[in-house]
Chain length 211, copies 2
């Protein structure tokens, strides 16, 4: 499971030399590639190890199990993922704040597609390891933001929309370009989707949200 724990190191406060950090980093990097391509079950330690330039036992010297690598990745991912949500300013201009959020999310799809796919893989297959986080932190943040949005609507500074379904729309529209990349590129004859996506989503959300 992924629940919370003391953020940094465990209570043991291991030394963590620079080399150790580098190897652990290389393993996470390789794990991200492999897990995002194949899902948890489809990934093999051999492939992760070879991708990271280590032998399998050596890899297991740094992380005690496949699960441990995967959970370390998910934990790191969730922070990055929830961050742009935090950045929405309740005191800002509503339409612009939300458009900024959309833009940031779309950039994440473009710049970190593997993370997006890792997340997608996990959720599509029932999110066995992060349901608690979804029902806890995520729901909390969405609830809070929903209140803000409802306030904006009541003030007439935003068109009336269901705040939660608005969130779903932002997530699905932006992440689609990372998660369904193969399909998108097949339809677009392999052109870069992002310039078009940017202007399309800007238009879509401006139309939806402007009072």
């Amino acid at each position: 499971m992924i629940g919370k724990s003391a953020s940094g190191q465990g209570a043991k406060a291991a030394p963590q030399t620079r080399i150790q950090r580098a190897k652990r980093e290389a393993i996470l990097e390789a794990g991200l590639t492999v897990f995002s391509e194949a899902g948890f079950r489809g990934a093999t330690l051999d492939r992760i190890a070879s991708e990271a330039g280590l032998s399998k036992p050596n890899l297991l010297y740094y992380y005690p199990s496949k699960e441990a690598i995967y959970e370390a990745l998910l934990r790191g991912l969730l922070e990055t993922w929830l961050d742009p949500l935090q950045a929405i300013d309740p005191k800002g201009e509503p339409v612009e704040e939300l458009l900024g959020y959309v833009r940031r999310k779309l950039q994440m799809s473009r710049d970190f597609p593997r993370q997006s796919r890792l997340f997608a893989n996990e959720i599509v297959q029932g999110a066995p390891r992060i349901i608690p986080v979804l029902e806890g932190e995520l729901r909390g943040m969405v609830d809070r933001l929903s209140t803000v949005i409802e306030g904006w609507i009541a003030e007439g500074r935003l068109a009336p929309v269901d705040p939660r379904h608005l969130m779903f729309s932002v997530w699905s529209l932006t992440q689609h370009y990372a998660d369904f990349d193969v399909q998108v590129r097949a339809v677009l004859n392999n052109d870069d989707p992002y310039p078009g996506a940017e202007t399309h989503l800007e238009l879509l959300f401006r139309r939806l949200l402007t009072p």
Copy 2:
């Protein structure tokens, strides 16, 4: 691979008794459940067999391999999937035609979530078995529809949108409710998402598409 072939039975014209058809159907049904939950690699023949009420060798008597079951599912899926697209009438009222498409797609997410997740699993992991179909049939259909939409826009009966990104929007927004069901329900405190989704998507696309 999935490419095309003589549509119905193979050239051999096997008899296909009613019992055979029923068992093959049961296997596909079980396969759909298991593959959509676990992905190709995560699914096991033992689980599919037990879900279908057969022994593993018995299952392999009807389908020669795991791959064969999976491909049979994908093949059937693609037909159902591309169908609602065909149903768009170039001579109809643009906004209503497209809204109808959205409605049908959302219904499919609600009524056949396993199919949606199977498809999502396949695409997220690189669509190794259906890229040809995506680059062939799907791209063809989207290209044709894009011409229609551009015509509608030129006639001023539809707000100017990029037709292809419009398709992506429809797909992502509707399929999200099936594929990311766990997340959606976590945020909604386990309420039924669909009533809200319907009115939200209706609003969204009406705003986007009305000239």
